[in-house]
Point group: C2
Chain length 317, copies 2
């Protein structure tokens, strides 16, 4: 008799897969679900596809995030990418690496978190591969339908466009700062780091309203605005004053003696949508104007200065 | 001045991605290639999707396999799964975890290996995510078109069907045994372990000839035959004598004092195709009859005995 949790080694690869499959629900788009060499999903004339990888110790810590939270974040990274093309996710598959002593319940709950986030986007978890690894690795590939008007690229922004944002920026970075100092509050910030809060329909909505360019803000507002600027060959001027500083960020920034807008301009992992619209009247309700697109040297300008710093996540650094 | 190789840390995430993208070629199916939030690939009315993960120290060793070899094997695992549904792969995306000191050239060559194997299957490498990890992790997701006659499942085998195999079995296991004993020859076996040799068209060919069920033999012949048997609710009798023992396997087995058919029945990683055909005349040229499908308790029978051992790879064990 032992009080140690049942590990992935105890239940084995096929046992773990069986446990995970039990909890899954499919959608009408799923023609063949999990359990065969491949799944089959209904499509139109084309499919969008993207992959994101979360690695323990790099993107999450098991003592800071629950398994469900990690699963939700892992799925959100890819689901938000599909939405940022103006698309609608239909399915995901998961590559899961697990240390031999990982509790089987952690793996199951992580898969449940992935499935939960898929549900928010209208997608289904249709397959995966489970293997042993030194650290937890969660690789989520999402596929989805592009919008009828065609996928919205990073490269379509034009001088005269208005840049607008939907979703939170800076919250996850502030939450990470809180956790990094050993605190668990303000809860709103910590939760923002732990799990995403994304309205996936906003991507398709922006596409339907004629957005010229769009990106998932995951590296940080400045860094991702720069991705649009460089892909489109335009100058983007961001107006920091357009970003109202939310109360928990203001309070925490003041307590930590940092500039709250630094978090909002450079913090990653919130998964907001940033899009260039042809004019103000095209911008859907709930989006905030944060800048303008102009001719000029490709890059991002804030307060009259070109921001040359990375201003975003850097791996291998 | 240093003779140390340039690492992934030296070139950075975006530098590495830029280097990898340089070498890629697309296919006419690719509507949007790498570089945006998602890629876009032409499809019919549905798409097949599957993922496989290779982990350093579990599935490969960098001193035993070149980066190109690892890339080819990682891609082959998923591409073979699409083919085993009777499908034709169109694109893959890659999740890549790399230790900070990994030579950038290793990562580039691994990507080149993935792209090379994709080329053999008619697919393109259209996107990926690169991140830091403690060990090399390569997660490849493949998508593809199902056959016009519908995807071939594991569950369609019927009593009276004839079981046939295309491709090698036992070669990779024998090669791994050779490497494990510190040798590098017979080269044919070591090469078989190092990189795949798959005729991806055989999957679609089997589908066109009316195969009732099919699987990618990656866990081992017995283990994967059992997957068909259990999914179809049938008894599969394998005839070991039908498998001619190739010369290098015979020689090496004799030298190591092992049963060569043990490798051929239980060895994994060769990626052969095993399919149940309605009759002998449906079996395409180049395939070998290896057994029959009968009514009875679901399972695999060899020499009159039900094989209850796993007979295949087990992770977490």
């Amino acid at each position: 008799m032992s009080s140690d949790p049942v590990t992935v080694t105890d239940v084995g690869e096929f046992g773990l897969i069986a446990r995970i499959r039990e909890g899954l629900s499919m959608t009408p788009n799923v023609i063949i679900g999990p359990g065969d060499d491949a799944a089959e999903v209904a499509t139109g004339e084309s499919v969008l596809i993207t992959v994101d990888v979360l690695v323990e110790g790099r993107h999450f810590r098991r003592d800071w995030s629950s398994a469900v939270d990690v699963g939700r974040r892992a799925a959100a990274a890819s689901l938000a990418d599909i939405a940022a093309m103006g698309g609608t996710s239909t399915a995901v598959v998961v590559g899961f690496g697990a240390p031999a002593d990982l509790p089987a319940s952690w793996a199951q709950q992580c898969a449940a978190g992935i499935a939960e986030e898929c549900g928010r986007a209208g997608a289904a978890l249709v397959g995966g591969d489970v293997t042993a690894a030194d650290q937890v690795v969660v690789s989520v590939t999402a596929i989805g339908d592009p919008p009828e008007t065609g996928a919205v690229l990073r490269s379509g922004a034009e001088p005269g466009d208005v840049l607008a944002l939907h979703g939170r920026v800076g919250w996850a970075a502030a939450g990470l700062a809180v956790l990094g100092r050993g605190f668990r509050a303000p809860k709103a910030l910590v939760d923002a780091y732990r799990f995403p809060d994304i309205d996936y329909r906003q991507g398709a909505r922006a596409a339907a309203r004629g957005a010229h360019a769009m990106i998932d803000v995951s590296d940080g507002l400045v860094a991702d605005a720069r991705h649009i600027a460089e892909a489109s060959g335009v100058a983007i001027t961001l107006d920091p004053e357009a970003l109202a500083v939310p109360e928990p960020i203001a309070t925490t920034a003041s307590a930590y003696n940092v500039d709250p807008r630094e978090w909002m301009l450079t913090g990653g992992d919130d998964h907001a949508f940033l899009a260039a619209f042809p004019d103000k009247k095209s911008i859907p309700k709930g989006w905030t104007i944060v800048g303008v697109v102009q001719e000029g040297e490709a890059g991002v300008y804030v307060n009259g200065h070109r921001v040359t710093r990375q201003g975003g996540h850097t791996h291998f650094a």
